[in-house]
Amino acid sequence: MSFMQKLMEGHEGGLRHETMTPLQKIAMRFVVIGLLYYGLASLEGMLMRAWEIKPLPFIDETHFFSIMTVHPMVGIFGSSYMIVFGAFLFLVSYLMKKPIYSIKMANLSWMTIAGGTLIMWLAGFLFSYAPLYTLYWPLPVDMEQFSAIGGIVYIVGVVGIMIGTFLFTYNVFKTILYTPEGWEKQPSGDLLKSALGLEGLLNFFRREKKEHLVPLPIAAISRGTIDMGLNAIVISSAGVLILIYMVGTVFGAELKGTWVDALLYKNIFWWGLDLIADGLVLIFVAGTWYLLAMIISGKDLFMQNIARAALFVEMVVSWTVWSHHLMSDQGQSNTLKVLSGEVVTAFELVTQGIAVFITLVTLYRARPLKMTNELKFLLGGILGFMLAVPAGIIQADLGMNRILHNTQWVIGTHVHVAILVGLTMTLYSAIYTLFPILTNGAKLYSQKLADIHFWLHLIGGIGMGAFMGMAGMDGMLRRAIYTNGEYNTYMILAGICGMMIMVAFVIFLYNIIMSIGIKGLIGIYKPAVIDTREPLPAEKES
């Protein structure tokens, strides 16, 4: 078979998209777009990496910061959200052994998030809108630095993403709770209690324990989804507020300096944002680890009940930790700094530590295991959080925050290690696990390429975090410009590591495209031939 033929048809027959159910296709649509957006986030990351070594002549300072504004949004919403949504919509239906509530809603969800991300990205690319994702008041409405039209386009994009998020949230909960046609009436109240963890909480006080109605990964998905919904409300409200100011400016009404208290706004904003960073990311990741550990080991989870309880605690913790972002804000009360910023945040070490322990023991009890791609990437993901969570706990300390806040330590050692090593490697593990299930058995083109992808990504991810962290400890700020080569050694080393991550991704993408073929790839976006809301084709289920 020639290279071109293989590229078109895929490996060993590639992906036969006509055999796929609508839900399999939807999950793949989410994942493919999520991966492409990941590529875009990496490319932007590399542009910034290069710029931080030496400013690139074709990118001016304003545009540098507009790249920095859209880069995490593309990475988190365009990529992580998309991959997670695709996987979870499929898994909720698959694990509950129930048809998905609405195929239409699921399709609308990926379209709005993909479209919203593109519109938001255009605000940066075309209009250089650059308030950064933290949107500290009144920067997003500073019309001396940004154009109102750029801001409006940005918010329209974010609204699209949030609409997609609400649709996903609704579809997930409806699928768990509804009664499909012809089925016996489902106990939706009890299902909801079990999904949210209330049953587990009540069990604590009951002599006769009630059994859990939803599997553990569904409990994780539900609890993370609650945080996601709450976050979408906060971000949408901030969006509406900014939009009012922007539209006011367009119509000549100057609202600057009115209404909004910057510190209160910052508190509300971080409360909402932490529902992602410290809520759904950690909860979804723990849930995904548990699921992957059970699939890889073929065994029940070690200490199931503790795992469920920890997921519940994690959700409550995520509602109360926001003050760790305001440790260097002198207007913030000391009580909040100590209680919410230091003490409650410390419990993230405990809940994430529990997830690490339970996952590793579950795997260990199933020895000997084969070192598959799923297992390899799962261990990489666990390592990522083992490194990034303590880094976060360290910076959530009144003494350390004074000298680490807004430095490259925060964004390198904590954020990028958590996202690139912890989250992304967990997602790669999930992708390798779901790949044969979603494609009805398509074969991977090259194991050697998968291995290279693994090592380049792992070393690049940890290395980039390490060199950014060292620069941070030597005083290098994040979101700042240094033109005299002050931190060039670190930045060149971080650049080399960033390049490894980027090359790893290109290799992975090539491997996947060669596996499913261009025809298969295009087929994912064609309407499904099979008309069902079940997750798998009929003959596969039996």
Binding site: E61, T62, F64, F65, A130, P131, Y136, P138, L139, D142, F146, D261, A262, L263, K266, F302, M303, I306, L326, S328, D329, Q330, G331, V338, E342, A346, L349, V350, G353, L360, R365, R367, P368, L369, K370, M371, L375, L379, L387, P390, I393, I394, D397, L398, G399, M400, R402, I403, H405, N406, T413, I462, M470, M473, D474, G475, M476, L477, A480, I481
Partner: protein
Amino acid sequence: MADSIDVLFTLKVVYTIYVIIAISLIGWFATRVTRAGSAKGPKPAIFYTYIGVLVVLGTGLHFLTYNLVPWVPIDLNRDKLETHKMYHYTFKDHKIIPKEHPVYVECGKKVVFDVVSEDLTYGFGIFRQNNSMVTQMQVVPGSRNDLMWEFHKNGTYYIRSTEYSGPKGAQMILEDAIVVRGCDEDDHHAMKEGGRG
């Protein structure tokens, strides 16, 4: 008395050791999990001890820094402590406007930097000549931004905004803003070339 250089050096050493341990642990696990062995899990006591250790580490860090890092108790109790001198700064239009420049700070005295922003959210950071950070706080418009500090080494420090306030604010620097004198020890990283701070 410990300064940011000492604290960050300790962090570098401790965190590097931790990273090596974590990587080795996962590496060890990866080799062991592929070999045959007992299917038994650890005893519950091990699990609960591990949780106990995490709780102690997570919360213990804060007790440790409260007692070892000098600026933590000062910051938490600054309302009750006597201020030797107060220095005022205004941040406006991406500029740092000092009331006095430079300010001469006496060694070992509690001074307060009181900063007002008239437009955006900024940051107030004090840096040595080698660009390492001494301390910082956020500067939020309409809010109280007061940082109490004690210097124990001679040196000349510059102020830089540590918070993003738009592309125009990416390099907001006030050179040679703070001169500390009267200490027995020099801050080697904060000395202007060829002379004392």
